[in-house]
């Protein structure tokens, strides 16, 4: 092995034979595979990629093709006390899949069946279905899921549920938890459980919640049932320029209070307006808002009227929205700047309207106060009648250890969020980067979570260490 790194957990020969017998070439201990599953899109792990040096490698990688195979893998791991990490698209940005205790990475991307029930408006998808593939399939049948994260091209439906993801069109369609009707998962000892996809049910605590946002610590999601919507008959593109961030946010709050639900609402602070919309001179140094209202043409038309009545700002027409649509999947900063020694990341938090501006200002100031920071800025990316998600971006060129600087910024950001009454994560999840702050975020709930973890995963084998569990 080139890197000379221990895999952390040796798989007993009997278990190796069993898994090789079960999966054949879909089970690997080859170096190239171990390297490939030793990171995700966590900026710290990008530094490892750049150096070709990983602190942790898995012991093996498995590519099951059905739930029974996942069960066999997990059962073998349980019997032999081998850690297991579920892997989807690897687009997580917090190290949620890093195999820090060695063990088996279970990549679900060979599980890709889709079944659409048009009458019930439900799509059943295996966990490894690619996001874009699913949306394209639904579009061809006249539907949409409405879940369009920036990772759409990369991520999987199982990953969406496991990380409690949300998408760019969430203000209308909601987060993945709002779309999820049912799921099938493999439990830490190898049994499977199906939470059936009813329109609604009142049959005790909602077991879906155990897996939504679980990041692989309670088992492996193998199949989901999701609500679908009719593909929008009409799409209205609107944009505004405002004199202040607060004024634009207030406008959106008023729109949502009246019950309108534009699918996309994004409000960029002055720095990000300059960054993303520099070609629109009228907006440069001001605040850009882009909106998409869509759906049935009559409903969309009514929502448009509400938007136009409530938004205080200068209308800029469709062009800024078209620009956003064209560039929304352009992810290149990490590729361009990481090798130049720039530490770059995003942090998304949520907060109620009453504390929104205070949190925004405090967080930008806190991140800027860390020595080495080049800039810190934000846009508001997801909206609710009760509050908003701020998506912060920071970059810095530290003099010393980049990881130390990175963690310092994260530390002040998390601390400031908690102090200002926000939640430390809106949709990226916890992973390994946020785990130190989860206890403070959840308070007594963290002890409850730990007890649930111990009860469900008695040997502590499912993604050990993730979320601090």
């Amino acid at each position: 092995m080139g890197a000379g790194v221990e895999t952390g957990c040796a798989i007993p020969p009997g278990a190796l034979d069993r898994l090789r017998g079960l999966l054949g070439e879909r089970f690997s201990t080859a170096d190239a595979d171990l390297f490939s599953y030793s990171h995700d899109y966590w900026p710290i792990s990008l530094q490892w990629v750049l150096k070709g040096s990983f602190p942790w490698l898995p012991s093996a990688v498995a590519w099951p093709e059905n739930t029974l195979e996942v069960q066999e893998i997990v059962k073998t791991a349980y019997e032999n006390s081998i850690p297991v990490y579920a892997f989807g698209g690897g687009s997580g940005v917090l190290g949620g899949t890093v195999p820090e205790k060695g063990g088996i990475v279970v990549d679900l991307k060979r599980m890709r069946s889709i079944r659409l029930n048009e009458e019930d408006m439900v799509v059943e998808a295996e966990a490894g279905v690619n996001g874009y593939y699913l949306e394209k399939y639904l579009n061809s049948k006249g539907y949409t899921l409405g879940h369009i994260p920036q990772s759409l091209y990369v991520s999987t439906v199982g990953g969406w549920v496991a990380t409690k993801a949300t998408g760019q069109f969430s203000t209308k369609y909601g987060g993945i938890e709002n779309m999820l009707l049912g799921l099938e998962a493999v439990l830490p000892w190898g049994d499977s459980v199906t939470v059936k996809p009813h329109p609604r049910t009142s049959t005790g605590p909602d077991l879906r919640s155990l897996f939504v946002g679980s990041e692989g610590v309670f088992g492996i999601i193998t199949r989901v049932w999701l609500k679908t919507c009719l593909a929008p008959g009409e799409r209205i593109l609107l944009s505004y320029v405002s004199e202040s961030f607060q004024e634009a946010l207030e406008s959106v709050r008023r729109i949502l209070r009246r019950g309108a639900r534009p699918a996309v609402v994004r409000v960029y602070d002055e720095t990000e307006t300059k960054r993303h919309f520099y070609m629109f001179e009228e907006a440069y140094g001001r605040v850009m808002t882009v909106m998409i209202v869509e759906g049935d043409s009559r409903i969309a038309g009514a929502e448009r009227m509400i938007v136009e009545e409530e938004f205080r700002g200068r209308m800029l027409g469709e062009e800024p929205v078209k620009h956003w649509l064209e560039t929304r999947f352009t992810v290149k900063e990490a590729s361009e700047f990481t090798p130049l020694g720039v530490v770059f990341d995003t942090i998304e938090v949520s907060v109620a309207w009453s504390r929104a501006m205070l949190l925004y200002r405090s967080l930008v100031e806190a991140m800027r106060s860390v020595k080495g920071t080049l800039f810190a800025s934000a846009h508001a990316s997801h909206f609710y009648p009760q509050g908003v998600c701020f998506y912060f971006t920071f970059a810095g060129v530290p003099k010393g250890d980049p990881e130390k600087y990175y963690n310092e910024v994260w530390s002040v950001a998390m601390k400031t969020t908690i102090e200002n009454g926000g939640s430390i994560s809106h949709h990226h999840g916890v992973g390994r980067q946020r785990r130190s702050w989860l206890k403070e975020e959840l308070d007594a709930g963290f002890q409850l979570l730990k007890k649930v973890k111990t009860a469900v995963d008695d040997k502590g084998l499912m993604n050990p260490g993730n979320m601090g569990l």
């Binding site: 080139g2 990008l46 750049l50 990549d107 091209y153 520099y278 070609m279 361009e336 090798p339 080049l374």
Partner: protein, 386 residues
């Protein structure tokens, strides 16, 4: 209008960090190229994964587009040893360039991997490729000694290059093509052609590719042809795109059959329902994602359908790029099945414009016609057999 990086210059000034970031300033000032392309690709979260047939069907990070770039980077760094096991993922590429459609940098992963392939392939010495190289060296033909080339005319005003796969697997299409060209008013002729070199290029043997390219260009030149047409889009891609990059000149105009037929079938009538499979090298390599559709939809009476992934979103048949069918035939088969199933949701008969695509679908139980076969039939010729 403010510039792209003005916002960052403003931020650097405001933070007092401008002097501390000479590299960033040079980069945004256009005075520093930044990291090399392989590194950029390796640091991408795989924003083209959804378009990559291998990425989707194989489902492995190791063979995903950015995953391959990472393996290549680790090999280049010496962090991974150049063993067969570690080098093989680089060949899990169909060279379809679907990645380049979605890449924010416009990269072709196949192109990024090529230097590492060239450097490592010799050491690994894939036995699966050796036979190809030997055949190309000895016979200028992928499949060994070529069969007698039939009774094609040796002079005319249109040089028709059939390519290795058509000659080996579907020689009847070559004969039908000559009838079709005649209908269009051409007197087509053939020559004792040499492989265009694409298999060598795809398999990491660039010196052999150049040798074949020079030989083939010389033969085309000595034929005196002013117009050349080929059935294989990969051959046309080689002649039009790769040869000039490698200093090999073809003076004649080179077209793919689908380009030659475009706008030439008006007035033709037919019936039946067909679904189009755009070959990747025609749609993406030659930048003609609508050529096949335009040609066929101009025929009155035909029902021409497109699959979900069409135009510039076309999905390779699994047999492109020369390497996958040789190193991992099961993966090639699974990709062909995936694409074939998608296509036949629309219509039973697939129409394509590439002998390799036709072969990939046919050998997996699908009914597939080359555009030449369909046009030949529409012109009153017999329906070709599968």
């Amino acid at each position: 209008m403010p510039g792209k990086w003005d916002w960052l210059k403003d931020e650097l000034r405001a933070s007092g960090m401008a002097r501390a970031t000479p590299l960033v300033l040079r980069f945004i000032g256009g005075r520093l190229r930044g990291p090399d392309d392989l590194v950029k690709c390796a640091l991408c979260p795989n924003m083209c994964r959804h378009a990559c047939p291998v990425g989707i069907v194989d489902g492995r990070e190791t063979t995903s587009p950015a995953g391959k770039a990472r393996v290549a980077l680790f090999l280049r760094q010496g962090r991974l040893q150049a063993t067969r096991e570690n080098v093989s993922p680089l060949y899990a590429c169909l060279s379809c360039d679907a990645c380049s459609v979605w890449c924010p940098f416009g990269f072709s992963v196949a192109d990024l991997l090529r230097p590492v392939k060239e450097k490592t392939a010799g050491g690994v010495g894939f036995k699966e490729f050796r036979e190809v190289f030997e055949n190309l060296e000895k016979h200028g033909y992928v499949y060994g000694e070529p069969k007698p080339s039939g009774s094609g005319s040796r002079n005319g005003d249109l040089l028709y290059l059939r390519g290795c796969t058509l000659r080996e697997k579907h020689p009847d299409i070559g004969e039908k093509a000559e009838h079709v060209f005649q209908h269009l008013g051409y007197r087509a002729f053939t020559i004792d052609e040499t492989c265009c070199g694409m298999p060598a290029y795809n398999l990491g043997n660039t010196s052999l590719f150049r040798k074949l390219a020079r030989k083939q260009a010389e033969k085309i030149g000595s034929s005196g042809a002013g117009t050349v047409v080929a059935s294989c889009p990969s051959c046309v891609y080689a002649y039009r795109v790769l040869y000039p990059k490698h200093g090999v000149e073809i003076k004649a105009e080179v077209h793919h059959v689908a380009e030659l037929l475009e706008d030439r079938l008006k007035g033709l009538r037919g019936e039946g329902s067909f679904v189009i499979h755009n070959p990747c090298k025609l749609a993406l390599g030659l930048g003609k994602p609508r050529a096949l559709w335009k040609t066929l939809s101009s025929v009155e009476g035909l029902t021409v359908k497109e699959p979900r992934r069409s135009g510039s979103e076309t999905f390779c048949c699994g047999h492109g790029g020369s390497a996958v069918p040789r190193l991992n035939p099961e993966l090639a088969r699974r990709i062909a099945l995936e694409r074939g199933m998608e296509l036949t949701e629309e219509a039973e008969t697939i129409v394509t414009a590439c002998p390799t695509c036709k072969q990939a679908f046919q050998s997996n139980g699908f009914k597939a016609l080359d555009i030449i076969e369909l046009v030949y039939f529409l012109l009153g010729g017999e329906q070709c057999s599968r």
